[in-house]
Symmetry: C2
Subunit: 157 residues, 2 copies
């Protein structure tokens, strides 16, 4: 449950790779092409290509055409959040169908629904979590973050 798609997975790997190459010590500033990433991580080339294209459309990376072309981060690693990456690929975060309901379109359950508000709280919490983590936190190859257990407040138990 709550699984993210392969495409999103690939996006994270690719961006992590680009970030590491670009801001690492070995070949800083180097442009990375699709093939390199696909081979490094065993990702189907053409699928990865589409993923990178949408990331470019969403202004997370910049593309350079022609030989010696490829991709470069559009911003610095700490300015790209995990939420931005995932939403680029999978669309806006939405725990429930009614998360982004416009005023006109009510779901069939809405009139009586008692779970919408608490679920939106959960969603907010997840959004904050994903927004608090950046590409930077995924660089270095080693696990970097430790996240506190979200506290529950204001509930009478």
């Amino acid at each position: 449950m709550l699984k993210i798609s392969k495409k999103a997975d690939y996006a994270l790997m690719a961006l992590q790779h680009i970030a590491t190459v670009q801001f690492g010590d070995v070949t800083p500033g180097r442009v990375v092409n699709t093939k390199e990433i696909a081979e490094e991580y065993n990702i189907p080339l053409e699928l990865l290509a589409k993923v990178l294209q949408t990331l470019a459309k969403n202004a997370l990376i910049e593309s350079h055409n022609g030989p010696k072309g490829g991709y470069v981060l559009a911003r610095r690693a700490h300015q790209i959040t995990i939420a931005q990456i995932l939403e680029s690929i999978e669309g806006p975060l939405g725990i429930t169908d009614c998360s982004h309901e416009k005023d006109g379109e009510l779901c069939m359950q809405r009139e009586n629904c008692h779970i919408r508000t608490p679920l939106l709280k959960v969603q907010d919490s997840i959004a904050q979590l994903l927004n608090s983590m950046t590409l930077q936190d995924m660089m270095g190859g080693t696990p970097l973050i430790t996240i506190q257990s979200p506290a529950v407040q204001g509930v009478e138990r």
Copy 2:
């Protein structure tokens, strides 16, 4: 992205309803049948039936056959977490495919994968969030919980 299924949605609504009936002030202890819930929330009867059956199999509710039969919570509302409900319907929480990878089966990306560990951290955080909320928190019809933004520690920024 990260949407939960309709079935899981229905499960939450149904359990919220049963809990409210059972521990509310109007008709405490009353058994609730599938039809009542389906009509109240505009849920397809037979789909809801299957949802409730799996919830019963997972020992979240108890079923009573025959006329005047129906379902009752198997435990008190504060002892049933949102995580338990969702996992009953959608299976174990797993942000990535490799979340529950057994020792034998490595994913194609594993040898070089730098995102697994941080993603597992995210997953843990979500798990804690969903485990910290119970059915009790969804009773009463009004939004009850407020969740702190998860802090990120141990990261050099």
